[in-house]
Symmetry: C2
Subunit: 348 residues, 2 copies
């Protein structure tokens, strides 16, 4: 039913509708690993993470090197967890928020694994999962890592202000998650499987407030979810969970309402990783969590666990990114958003 | 002969050797477009570029928005050049050097095309070509754009110092190319074709001088070229041109010598895009050109032209990236390098 093959072009067999792909070989997520900081570990999903750090410096000399070290350890443990070594892995598909992607590139320099560096701001985890899934589905490799990370302290001083300043946070601000989530994709049975991918377009509805990124990203999330439904034929009832990346309270509400206006009632099955990872009142995170690590760690732990033990059958993960820089905001530009989506099913 | 299929894994048919892929459907590069600044236009390859700007501000209010505008125009003209529109295109695979990839993301916001944001520093053009080729080869889309850009003035103030300061340049420094190069991939006959891909690993040999990026990137280029030969069975004699991205004079010499030590004599067929794009003495660019736009514009114009008119039969394009940021250099870190390679053949 949802296998309408696009007509134009000569070599199209896996591209469906406008922006989606059907993965006919259904790559498996054969291993995951998640590392988070102390604050994330103390949140409602704390028990699901593989590793909770006592100190978010992780034994390093700077926040940036700490983020890189967390990524490196997470990737290594994800690989070793199923008895493999780095030389068995064909690709690392990954990214982060630091200027010039250095958390990921420095994390990769001690591995003998080719790196496909990706940037989709906080949508990077699904972007990485989409690319990794395609590489496995098409026989372009045996194993691929999808990974993304962020770090509260490296993000805060790069994007906002020195921590030492102790500046007041806007009511719509979100708290960047310290953490890295990794998934290892390959072929094989007995694991959750990736079945569909919807790559997102850049959408800019004119939001200019860099402390309201949920509002800036919501239209991109809505566009991708709507297009996913149209392309694949899936409806909200076909999903047990639709999880956006890090829209927070404000962005989540906008998304829910905009989808309802379009005729898609997702309220019973919708969660936002940024809203779920912290206890929003007690942990004083204003609108919730954010950062490329946010949906990465929630998907690699809590959501993967639910698929693995078959509590849920089908999940749509829609990580969401705000495509700003400090330069574009200072130059008065608005904030474009992007969202990439991926369908993951528990094994029948 | 070079079709040794990797043994491990269950779904491996297109992955060969350690890091390479054979593209059995041979995606075509059906259109290219290149835009450069006035200095690049005055260089030895000036006549090959599609568009030479009179003013590198390109009518915009900032260098950053100029770079974005140049990218947008280049992508649009690449698509329109073969009578297509943005809605016909399934992917933009692209990136740039600006913090948070804003040249590319802002260039993409006016297109109805999904964006796969990529970061490989100055290796981004081959990274984009590799990903775009796989998407077309595997039937994951009909048309994909591969694009990369850089801008002397946006790079200079982001990575080095304000232009107004007029600082002295190191003898090993390179001149960031102002320009964007785009290639449109799809299936079809009568065009140069992509046949093999070698994704690169991150290699760090401890170089710490951010004004000697050629030296930092050379070991990564050597590792990728050597692995490409081993994986595919190709030898230097099978290529008419091997073009590295932007190693400049110093990096090019190191690469040539290291490859000779490994038993690969590439001297007769080797060029570096960064060395070729400027008249190094007359244009006062010290060690040559650099930037993600460098190999992008040279490949999209001069090299594509040679393939198109069959002056050459087979080219290996090896864009090279220095994976540093101002933060990592200030923190005393060395500069990891990466290089991705792609084989392009003129049609038989």
């Amino acid at each position: 039913m949802y296998l309408k093959i696009k007509k134009s072009g000569e070599n199209v067999k896996n591209h469906i509708g406008k922006q989606s792909i059907i993965l006919r070989n259904k790559p498996s997520i054969i291993s995951t690993y998640s590392t988070v900081g102390p604050k994330e570990g103390a949140g409602p999903l704390g028990k699901y993470f593989n590793s909770v750090l006592n100190d978010d410096m992780d034994g390093q000399m700077s926040y940036e090197m700490a983020e890189s070290h967390i990524s490196h350890t997470t990737i290594m443990k994800c690989i070793n967890g199923v008895g493999l070594e780095d030389k068995d892995i064909d690709y690392i598909c990954g990214g982060d928020l630091l200027n010039q992607l250095t958390a990921t590139t420095f994390a990769s320099r001690d591995f003998d694994i080719p790196l496909i560096g990706l940037y989709g701001a906080c949508s990077t985890m699904t972007l990485a999962l989409c690319v990794a899934s395609i590489l496995i589905d098409g026989g372009y490799g045996s194993y691929a890592i999808a990974e993304a990370s962020s770090h509260f302290s490296s993000a805060e001083r790069q994007f906002r202000a020195p921590l030492e300043m102790g500046g007041q946070r806007s009511p719509t601000a979100q708290w960047t998650v310290t953490g890295s989530g990794a998934m290892l994709l390959g072929m094989g049975n007995g694991h959750p499987k990736v079945t569909h991918v919807t790559f997102g377009q850049v959408k800019d509805f004119g939001e200019k407030d860099p402390t309201n990124m949920g509002g800036a990203m919501a239209p991109a999330a809505v566009h991708t979810i709507k297009t996913h439904f149209e392309d694949t034929g899936f409806l909200p009832k076909d999903y047990d969970i639709i999880a956006t990346g890090d829209l927070g309270i404000v962005g989540r509400k906008i998304t829910e309402e905009m989808l309802l206006d379009l005729g898609y009632d997702v309220r019973d099955i919708y969660m936002d990783c940024g809203e779920s990872i912290f206890d929003i009142e007690d942990q004083k995170v204003n609108c919730g969590g954010s950062g490329a690590g946010c949906s990465a760690v929630v998907a690699s732990s809590y959501l993967y666990e639910k698929l693995k033990n078959k509590t849920v059958k089908r999940i749509l993960l829609v990580s969401t990114g705000a495509l700003l820089s400090t330069t574009t905001s200072l130059q008065g530009e608005s904030i474009p958003g992007i969202a990439h989506a991926i369908t993951i099913e528990s094994e029948d």
